[in-house]
Amino acid sequence: MKPAVLVDLNRIGGLDEVGETEAGLAIGALVRHRRVERDPLVARACPLLAEAAAQIGHVAVRNRGTFGGSLAHADPAAELPAAMAALDGEVELRSGRGSRRLRVEEFFRGPFETAVEEGELVVAVHLPRAPDRTGQVWLEVNEKHGHFALVGVAISLTLAEDGTCSEARLAYAGVGPVPWIAAEAVSLLAGKGHGAFQQAAVAAAGGCEPPSDAHGSSSYRRRLVRVLTERALTEAAGRVA
């Protein structure tokens, strides 16, 4: 690729802010990963996002890498797309024609492919605040800190007073062309307690079709999905206040 013109977005004002909204949180496209990792607003409203951001690359990479950049790049093993899927976030796009918001399922089309059209720019993401009695976790396995996840799992788990699951969202990085949502595991968890965690993890592992590459085979990734899902569900339940 040999672009005729290269545009640096960094000097566009107003795209580097983290703000609270009525529904939750708005994060500008130019907000750096390092800020997401450390911002108290993020930690309060969407704790799994802060955990996921801390796993992106190395400090010098997180100091420059942006939220919007990571989404628009759409690497299937990247942290933020899967975290966005678990948080049921929306991506805001703007162009000369106006602006629109897309859910994660609509935004990611394939590896390194999104619904962004010519002349459009990712300007922000919008995330709902975690409901009460919610535990959120990001877990991943990689070859070394800073490398892409072999498998990453994002879980947002809401428990009723009696300890049964009233809402769950499970999303994965590294197991498919776009962030994968474990729908069957979610339905197995509905209305159940800890006893269903293992069954949900097995369902998640059985439901995905992870790729094989030099870093790990499909069956190894599938095994990681099972182990990480059960571990993350247990951790998320433990975090419910």
């Binding site: 640096d8 390092r34 690359g57 010098a60 420059r64």
Partner: protein, 156 residues
């Protein structure tokens, strides 16, 4: 060509640069600050790490024009040419934190950012912070020990 004004190690500079000149090439070839080293030139090895407005960046992944108006700090700023070594450099020397020295500027700047923020970083935190810098000589153990030692040595 674009005109870039920026501050490097406390000195203001104004230079004409080709827009695609990397910050690393600008520092080394235009300003003669060859302490910043280029290993992989695609953001993997960490040798070219400098501070941009106080935070670590890969100077091979930035264009010089993107640093316009910024304060850049390179390894040359750690100690005066004729003066004593910076405590971090002293610790690297004492703990065998380097052998050939090629990667050392990147390690020093990465460690400088970590230790400037706070004292008492654990061995795990240091290792995690260093995960973006590659060294082919030391096996890293001496580097981790040097940073732990510098944490005690450095009055800050």
């Amino acid at each position: 060509m674009s005109v870039v004004r920026l501050e490097v190690n406390g000195t203001p500079f104004e230079r004409e640069v080709e827009p695609r000149r990397t910050l690393a090439d600008f520092l080394r070839d235009d300003l003669g600050l060859t302490g910043t080293h280029l290993g992989c030139e695609h953001g993997v090895c960490g040798s070219c790490t400098v501070l941009l407005d106080g935070v670590s960046v890969r100077s091979c992944l930035l264009y010089a024009v993107q640093a316009a108006g910024a304060n850049v700090m390179t390894v040359e700023a750690l100690a005066p040419a004729e003066g004593p070594l910076h405590p971090l450099q002293e610790a690297f020397k004492r703990c065998h934190g380097l052998q050939c020295g090629f990667c050392t500027p990147g390690f020093l700047i990465t460690a400088y950012e970590l230790l400037s923020e706070r004292r008492g970083a654990t061995g795990d935190e240091i290792r995690r912070t260093l995960s973006g810098n590659l060294c082919r000589c030391t096996g890293y153990q001496g580097i981790v020990e040097a940073i732990e030692f510098a944490d005690e040595l450095w009055e800050r």
